[in-house]
Amino acid sequence: MTGKQLTHFPKDHLKEDGLDDIREPLSRALNLTPDDFDRMSPEVKNLLSGRRNLGVTWLDDYEVVVEVVSNERCGCGVRPGQKTVFDMRHRIKPEKSDAPMCMHMLAPILPIFYMTFDRASEGFNPLTRVWNHYECGDTGDDDGASKARTLVYLRRSDTHEVVTDPAPGQEET
């Protein structure tokens, strides 16, 4: 047997959890009444629980970089080496981005952020280590051979150090 054995929580394990640690600030920020908060699904509670595993500031500590690695055809202006930077709430940071914000290239990135919240709820590095390569949705006449392609990675938002730790923010046991 190699590697660490992982214990997965049941999907709805937070069903009875009142999330009292974030109830007040989140309710205030999102204009949620007590009834709204109590209607929250177990899935959303899991989404919100990442802070318990990766630290209360994890959404601000990291950012996702989408770097263009090739583009031989598209006229939208994206070039290898250009980047689009997202915060962990999947909002583009225009001040840190230098690639044209072509939605045909960026829209396919969205699943990254479904995975970041899911992985954070389990205490893992929020960036998938499986689906890191993406491509523009525009196929063209060459079966997609020359379309724009991107590589996605996670970095610290302050130092820009690339983060590959399996579970950043947690002490090794």
Binding site: L32, D36, M103, L106, A107, P108, I109
Partner: protein, 132 residues
């Protein structure tokens, strides 16, 4: 039909690309965790490039990614010389399913076409060209 893809994708009225822009205006926003608010906007070129300087809403990919088919549709309509904003598919909502459907919030937008220079909302760009 031309063999060349760029020719097939050329707008019937080439100056539309510089003259017009697409605007997705937020018509409602409920419990949005990215703090997108009603009346804010996302602004795009007719070939689908987001303009972050003209956009006033937070650039949430959960909303923006939903608009990509509409951007393709607008470009396709422009190749025909039709008004780029479809009358049938004009409104879009974000990928968050909302508090009552297993999600958190919900943002909705409506597309319009705007003259870049004057800011005038264009109801029918094709009619201005004398097209039917």
């Amino acid at each position: 039909m031309p063999d060349n893809l760029d020719q097939r994708r050329a707008f019937r009225y080439p100056d539309w690309k510089d003259r017009y822009e697409l605007v997705a205006t937020v018509t409602s926003a409920i419990h949005c965790a990215n703090f997108v608010e009603k009346d804010e906007t996302y602004v795009f070129s007719l070939d689908g490039i987001l303009d972050p300087d003209k956009s006033t809403a937070n650039l949430c990919l959960g909303m923006l990614a939903r608009l990509q088919p509409a951007l393709l549709m607008a470009a396709d309509r422009a190749t025909l010389g039709a008004h780029p904003v479809s009358g049938g598919w004009q409104t879009f909502d974000c990928y968050d399913t909302g508090l009552d459907h297993g999600g958190m919030g919900k943002v909705c937008v409506r597309f319009s076409l705007r003259d870049r220079e004057s800011g005038e909302v264009i109801e029918d760009a094709a009619a201005r060209e004398g097209a039917s």
